[in-house]
């Protein structure tokens, strides 16, 4: 088994930790070309701007929500990728922020990464996460007059679905 050098991954983590020493909570390298960074949710726009301008991650592939009912948190994941910077073109950097489950509010990154526009709308609809500063936060996929709860939360088992 040859040792795969993880120097590029560690360089990214090093630069982020140097710039935001108090905002970065935890970092992890899952494997080559995958870096996971847990950060404090209030610094999301600054970190996004640093990633775009200094490190060359110019788009997000998606914005996901994960419901953690046992920890009473909702996690928001940003999958950052790069088209312009040839050194990190094969990377996916996953930025994670944890929000309190009863009041999930986070600033929107649409002013930094325009590619997050529709993804944030979907996360708002599916998990109830409010993205402050989003130019057009309304429902995208469910029925026009859906009055029900955000569908993807774990404690919502719709009567039609098989119990887990």
């Amino acid at each position: 088994m040859s040792q795969v050098s993880l120097s590029r991954e560690e360089a990214i983590i090093g630069k982020l930790k140097a710039r935001f020493p108090e905002a970065i909570e935890e970092t992890k390298i899952d494997r080559a070309r995958r870096v996971t960074i847990h950060f404090e949710k209030d610094h999301v726009q600054e970190i996004a701007m640093f990633m775009r301008d200094e490190l060359g991650f110019d788009h997000v592939k998606g914005v996901a929500g994960v419901d953690l009912p046992t920890q009473k948190k909702i996690e928001v994941l940003y999958f950052a990728g790069s088209y312009s910077n040839a050194e990190v073109q094969d990377f996916i950097v996953i930025l994670k922020a944890q929000l309190p489950r009863d009041n999930p509010i986070i600033a929107s990154v649409v002013s930094v990464w325009e590619s997050a526009h529709f993804h944030e709308r979907e996360t708002f609809e599916m998990f109830g996460v409010k993205f402050e500063g989003h130019p057009d936060l309304r429902k995208l996929l469910t029925l026009d007059n859906w009055e029900g709860p955000p569908p993807m939360l774990k404690d919502i088992k719709f009567p039609e679905m098989g119990q887990r």
Binding site: D30, R31, R33, R34, D58, H59, V60, K61, G62, A64, V66, D67, L77, F79, G81, Y83, S84, Q89, D90, I92, I94, W113, E114, S115, H117, F118, H119, M126, P135, D136, R138, K139, L140, L141, T142, L143, D144, P151, M152, K154, M161, G162, R164
Partner: protein, 377 residues
Amino acid sequence: MTTEPPSPGISISKTAEPSTLDVSVGPQHPGSGHCRILIRVDGDYIVSADPDIGYVHRGCEKIAEYRNYVSNIPHLERPNIADAIHLNWGYVLPIEELQGVVVPPRGKYISTIAAEMNRIMSHLYGLAIMQGVFSGHTTIFMWAFGDRDLFIELAEMLTGARLTYSFLVPGGPRRDLPFGFEDRLSRLLDYFEKRLVEYDRIFFSNPSVIARAKGIGVLKREDAKKLGVVGPVLRASGVKYDVRKVEPYGAYADLEFDIPTFEEGDSYSRYLIRFEEMKQSVRIIRQALEKIPKGPIARKAPLVAPEGEATGRVESSRGEITYLVMGDNSDKPSRVKIMNGSFRNLIALPFLVRNVHVADMPIIYGSLDYWPVEADR
């Protein structure tokens, strides 16, 4: 019916002029597919467009938490039924990473051959309907569907189903190549290469197609990178990015092929790029048929996945599909997130459909190859 002003997506213009009219290019329309596009029209010019999607939202991500890993494959491959292998493969890659299962080389080659056949089938489908019927060219619809049926027959021989194969499970493909398959496939590829020349003559070099599509809906390179579009839309704007080269999976690391790109970024180059990609797919399949090794096709994978998360991506015919799978030591995933090509390309639609004639909208919409079922999941 919404009474809010349609949002153009990128540049916000909330004031509605009294001379404008909101038109619903709705789900019942010969040129809209399974979605609705609300356009605000001033005379013959479209001021802004607002996509209204969700007509085929079936909750795949929620259903995926209630079924085990293998039972998830049928409903996760339905969103893009014309290109089912890629949605299947993208789901299986992170599970294999979590479980630590390595597919043997022969299995990788078989998956690659099936995936490239699917890419040709999906491009023919897009050529027939999105680029052909939406612009009024019904001859290419008949021709492309006739040739696509020949590929479907071969896929039926390989997997047993016409469109919904469920062919790849964690560990590798389910079946080996049947007897006589390689011979039939190479003969079909010879016939198909001759047909591609005829497609060029009737559609891509057709003066009326060129007049309708050239210079329409130009997406510049910087905008394409900023909006985060994927797939042929990205490559037609000059960005050479293909997951098969950036992060090779399957057998692509051993095979030689080019990534076509164009610089203009207009609708015509988005038409042409799928034509070039079909030629490259023929080249890939031919090499794979020569180089395929012997041996087992699959390894047995466990039914549970350990705790953790993994991301995997493939390059489907509509763009890069990224899957996030989170396991929790049981036989059901705790979260499956799908980021597919059509949903990521949706942002280009309100961006491009501004200050264009109404008749240009189906051309732009068709050239993006937006498949609403895939975007809605």
